[in-house]
């Protein structure tokens, strides 16, 4: 076989190789060690220890749908556990129409932590909101105007945990988990405007926009994709979905690099053949 053929391998060959290779780590986990990135360490440090006081109210924004569960949810799970264990109270909100599914999944993935907490006293689910950057800005000045009731229909004023929680001054920090722009909206309308402490949990693609903001101090920490989730799982000492996914990421990334090398060998051979 001529090496130049390596430049034009049928895509279906790669699909099958990837499909079969991805099954290997699920059947037999490899478990490569994971080092912690400084941005993830900062995120974890910011939601644990003396950075969180008992009774602090935090906002957790679900800015991702079912399709991004694999990337965002492990980190959201760890952050929820960490905040609950520090005695913080959490307001869950979401800008994705399937926010309720994500909230229900969180109840499963943090079941032990939710079991100790009382709805309405330790946490509350305000539900879905729309309105882009405007609604995030409005949330900063009057939360009840955006959510006159929680997701289950209880009026805002009747929820014990929300007594005295009116605007950004009553919120200790914001964790926004996103596939889109809402982290940016919270940064513009909360962090930049009022100095609210905030961190971002984004899909891997968002890393390139989130990391400069972490370096600049807008975000006190950033979790990037499944890798960020795996690092957080290692930090809290409870390995989960993201750690399992890391093996698949290792296999797929390695295969991709091998495919790129093969393609380039093919191109190089074609060039050299042409010169002859």
């Amino acid at each position: 076989m001529s090496l130049s053929k390596l430049a034009n391998i049928d895509r279906r060959v790669f699909y099958w190789i990837l499909f079969i290779a991805l099954m290997v780590p699920f059947l037999s986990p490899i478990g490569f060690p994971i080092t912690i990135a400084p941005n993830t360490q900062d995120l974890y440090d910011g939601i644990t220890g003396d950075q969180v006081n008992e009774g602090d109210v935090w906002i957790m924004n679900f800015g991702y749908g079912v399709s991004a569960w694999s990337e965002c949810h492990p980190a959201v799970t760890v952050c929820t556990k960490a905040l609950f264990r520090e005695g913080a109270k959490i307001i869950f909100i979401g800008i994705h129409y399937d926010v309720e599914l994500t909230y229900n999944k969180l109840q499963d993935t943090c079941s032990e932590d939710f079991a100790d907490k009382v709805y309405g006293e330790d946490y509350v689910f305000l539900g879905y909101m729309t309105g882009g950057e405007s609604v995030v800005a409005q949330l900063g000045s009057d939360i009840a105007s955006v959510f006159p009731q929680d997701h289950f229909g209880t009026p805002y004023g009747d929820i014990p945990m929300l007594e005295g929680v009116e605007d950004h001054t009553d919120i200790a920090g914001v964790l926004s988990s996103d596939t889109g722009d809402y982290g940016t909206h919270f940064m513009t309308q909360w962090q930049a405007a009022y100095g609210t402490k905030m961190a971002e949990i984004g899909i891997a693609m968002n890393g390139s926009t989130d990391l400069p903001r972490w370096q600049a101090g807008n975000f006190f920490g950033v979790s990037v994709g499944s890798r960020g989730g795996a690092e957080l799982e290692a930090l809290i000492g409870e390995l989960g979905e993201a750690t399992t996914a890391m093996d698949s990421i290792s296999v797929s990334h390695l295969l991709l690099i091998l495919a790129i090398i093969l393609g380039n060998i093919g191109v190089l051979t074609e060039k050299l053949g042409g010169k002859k």
Binding site: A7, S67, W69, A193, Q215, G225, L256, I260, G263
Partner: protein, 216 residues
Amino acid sequence: MSNVLKQEAVYAVTGIITILMILEYFFFAETQAWAETIRTWAVIIFNISLFLGAIRLIMAHSVRIQEKRRDWQFSGLLLVFFVIMLLTGIAGYIATGVQTNNGIYNWMFNYIYTPLGATLYPITGFYIFSAAYRAFRARNIDAALMLLAGCLVMLYNAPVGEAIWIGFKDLGYWVQFTGQVPGMRTLAIVGALGLIAFGFRALLGKERGFYAGGGE
């Protein structure tokens, strides 16, 4: 007169609201109740636009079905599911005050939407794999540099990179934080400056693209 109402009034309202919101953001963020009112209007308008979007969706797909255009069956399927989700959601809301408290609505969300949504995104991985194989070719120095940087970041992100050689961690970190982050900062700053320029042009009535697709 109608032209004035259709265009000039829109520009004037946009300009006035923009100035008010800029003043509020920079000088009176903690105090201005009127800004809260305007933002509430914005949220209401946004929600109305969702409703209009739904109407437009129904209209567009109804036309496709009527004219039996290519793949019109999918439009029919979309409308059927649209109606089912709408009606079951309303039924749940009327019965309990929460639209998701309906068995059919929940079943469709949990057993149709969730698996489909969870599958759709990972499938792109296969396409990315194939596309990267085809696109990442070192045909010149620039492409070779991009290829190298991409591979280093991949080996930094995947734990297998460190397992192969611990130096991949430092190299990938360097590429990401010394190479990519400053580039993204530059892009962000330039983009923000462009946005400010766009805002001023819109305020002065020189930028009219945001309204009905019109030019200057």
